[in-house]
């Protein structure tokens, strides 16, 4: 059995829980075992890095330090040094912290001075940080994945959307190419899907710009979706929670903004793997995407149940808990139209 330490990242618990569910479903058939890093914290996304350098890298490095504490055979990890990050942004932050602590020892020293205040330490270079798809394609291998397929996705026309942060800047030289990596194409072909060539595969989905400058993000989302549509794709397939969120949840806003009418569902590659391995859509978090994949999947004989999960009950009249600092912020000059 292959054992790894898992860094799930915040979105896997909420907006991308379909990714988490489907990932967990395919581990067993592929003989993989993931041990979650205990008490991991947020990687800081792209936001923390823009505030303060040493706190940002200390925040990321706490996770690496916790992982090294956990990597002993006695913990059921088999002594693995490999951390798996399914989210591209988390993957990049963890890999980058390790890389820069090494490249600039003075940064490493300061980060470790900060970690020491919490009784932790991280030696740059101790861990191997890798993305989920890297593990699947290069450790498990396409042969084994092909063997696990019981329902080939024949006739499903998909574009592989790798996103930008995964193959770039590629400190560890993991990918076949920075701009047109083929790992996702190969994996989807192994599942029997009809993979359409997608030159925009590593173009950006807009990242956090949906929150702060939606026009910039909408244009990037439009390009992605329009090109997929033009090429006759029925679906986009992603490896990143942020990409899924932006293309899925904001597709409708984007349509409203441009007066277009695209409906291209975007699923996680693990969801398609699960389907090909004969798992039920319900086990794979299929149905919680906002641009429904129901009609497209019906075309290959998969019936998606109607999910109407009720919202979690909320204590009446209780405001959402917020950090104190919010109220101190200065107002903005003008509202964006």
């Amino acid at each position: 059995m292959n054992k790894y330490l898992l860094y799930p990242g915040c979105s896997m618990e909420s907006s991308a829980k379909a990714y988490m569910e489907s990932m967990n479903t395919i581990l067993e058939p592929l003989d993989l075992h993931f041990e979650e890093i205990d008490d991991w914290n947020c990687c800081g996304a792209t936001e923390y890095l823009g505030i303060n350098l040493i706190p940002a890298y200390s925040l990321i490095a706490r996770n690496l330090a916790l992982a090294t504490k956990q990597m002993h055979p006695a913990n059921g990890t088999g002594g693995t040094r490999t951390v798996v990050a399914p989210c591209s942004a988390c993957y990049l932050n963890l890999a980058k912290a390790d890389h820069y602590m090494n490249e600039r020892p003075s940064l490493g020293e300061k980060v470790n001075e900060a970690l020491a205040a919490g009784g932790l330490h991280y030696e740059a270079g101790t861990l191997d940080v890798r993305h989920l798809i890297d593990i699947l394609v290069y450790d498990v291998g396409l042969e084994k994945i092909r063997e696990a397929v019981v329902h080939p996705l024949t006739g499903l026309k998909v574009v592989p959307y790798m996103g930008c942060m995964l193959p770039r800047p590629d400190y560890q030289h993991r990918w076949s190419d920075h701009e047109h990596p083929t790992e996702l194409d190969d994996l989807l072909r192994a599942l029997g899907a009809d993979v359409i060539d997608y030159p925009l595969t590593t173009e950006c989905c807009g990242g956090h710009m949906t929150q702060i400058g939606p026009e910039t993000a909408f244009e990037l989302i439009r390009r992605l979706v329009a090109d997929a549509d033009e090429r006759g794709a029925q679906m986009m397939v992603t490896v990143c929670p942020m990409c899924q969120m932006n293309v899925d949840a904001y597709q409708n806003e984007m349509n409203n903004y441009f007066g277009t009418d695209y409906h291209i569902p975007i699923l996680f590659f693990t969801q398609l793997m699960g389907l090909a391995f004969g798992k039920e859509p319900g086990e794979l978090g299929i149905g919680v995407e906002l641009v429904s994949s129901r009609n497209v999947l019906a075309g290959i004989g998969v019936e998606v149940p109607v999910t109407q999960e009720p919202a979690a009950p909320r204590k009446k009249d209780e405001g959402l808990p917020m950090p104190r600092r919010w109220t101190k912020h200065e107002g903005r000059k003008e509202a964006v139209k």
């Binding site: 915040c10 909420s14 914290n41 823009g50 706190p55 702060i212």
Partner: protein, 198 residues
């Protein structure tokens, strides 16, 4: 033939060449930024998917740093429009850590309060506050508070999406807190001290 100095003065060059801003930004950037190695080839701007919304292309911004134009650089929207896609980074022939330089410029602009529009800095700060309070990010609180403050007119239009995310169980209504929050706090407090003294 006019004196050299007069020409320089007429051209607006009243100072000796001063690379201190360039070095400052370089030193504040993670890793070895290589910013000093920029040869102004323009590959970064040409590769940038967001360049059309930027005040200055990355190349232009780096030339401005070299020219010591502190305020103009920190007031530029470029670093805020950068989506961190690293397209420029893998193409730059000089291997400049462009995306990381953008983070440095954001940090400097916040500290010196030199930004034209507070939407992005506020978002970053709210995110950081969340993480410093809970140890994890909390998408629901983050998005709703942010939209309420900066795009109140857009909120009605966002309702279908927000409700969709909630009914599909994709938005936690309460944040999750890590167990050892006190440990994380100690680490971050110490890191902030180091940041100030370094």
């Amino acid at each position: 033939m006019p004196h050299m100095t007069d020409e320089r003065v007429r051209a607006g060059l009243t100072h000796e060449e001063d690379l201190s801003l360039l070095h400052e930004v370089s030193m504040k950037t993670a890793g070895v930024s290589r910013l000093e190695m920029c040869i102004q080839c323009g590959t970064c701007g040409g590769s940038c998917p967001a360049a059309k919304d930027m005040d200055h292309t990355p190349r232009m911004l780096f030339a401005m740093l070299r020219a010591g134009m502190r305020e103009e650089v920190l007031r530029s929207n470029t670093q805020w429009i950068c989506v961190s896609c690293y397209h420029c980074v893998v193409r730059c022939p000089q291997e400049v850590h462009i995306a990381d330089v953008m983070y440095t410029l954001k940090g400097m602009a916040i500290k010196e309060k030199l930004y034209e529009d507070s939407t992005a800095p506020d978002f970053s700060q709210t995110f950081v506050d969340m993480v410093e309070t809970y140890g994890r990010s909390f998408e629901m609180g983050l998005a709703s508070r942010h939209y309420l403050k900066h795009f109140p007119l857009r909120l009605p239009g966002m309702m279908p999406m927000g409700l969709g995310m909630i009914t599909k169980g994709r938005m936690a209504l309460m944040p999750k807190k890590i167990k050892q929050m006190d440990q994380l706090k100690k680490i971050l407090d110490h890191a902030k001290q180091l940041e100030m003294t370094s």
